[in-house]
Symmetry: C2
Subunit: 109 residues, 2 copies
């Protein structure tokens, strides 16, 4: 099954979260999986794509609009995960919110 | 050294390229490295972040504006790489162009 998100036609929003982890593994995998599960149930969630290599992680999530992003940001369980993130799991991160204006895709026959 | 791109304050643009590779390795690594090198020399290039795991690759490149993105897209050597990409290296890809409106970052002390 393809891991590429099947997003609708633009416009929609994207949250690009790039991160570098600490060495602390405690609860990280469980929480990351739980957050994906929780995000997917939020109103306006359109999909997510994630990859990690050489200590660098990129998670890109797609959303209907900015209100949906704000609601997800303020979700109580997510807020607790954010708190633990800066306390334990991330050495550094960059979070960018952007409006998708154009999109193209290709699939080999 | 951090692999997280040190982008300026928004607004700026981002190209999110998510891909699934074929099994064809021929010339792929060399071309990917060459494209990174070439992109970094383009006017308006602000940075790039890349990760690949479980067959899923995500490359996020940052640009001053849409004109810079269009110029890079039309670069002759890049066009040849794009042609080889759909012919040999990618099973599927999704390319999204978005305008970064907000950004936050964190770095542990």
């Amino acid at each position: 099954m393809s891991q590429i998100a099947k997003t609708p036609s633009p416009p929609y929003y994207v949250v690009i979260f790039t991160s570098e982890r600490t060495d602390t593994e405690e609860e990280y995998q469980e929480t990351a999986a739980r957050m994906l599960e929780l995000a997917a149930r939020q109103p306006g969630f359109l999909g997510v794509e994630s990859a990690r290599s050489d200590g660098m992680g990129i998670t890109v999530s797609y959303w209907k609009d900015e209100t949906c992003i704000r609601n997800w940001k303020n979700n109580m369980e997510h807020r607790e995960a954010q708190r633990l993130g800066v306390e334990k799991w991330y050495r550094a991160y960059f979070l960018r919110v952007a409006k998708v204006e154009r999109a193209y895709n290709f699939e080999a026959k």
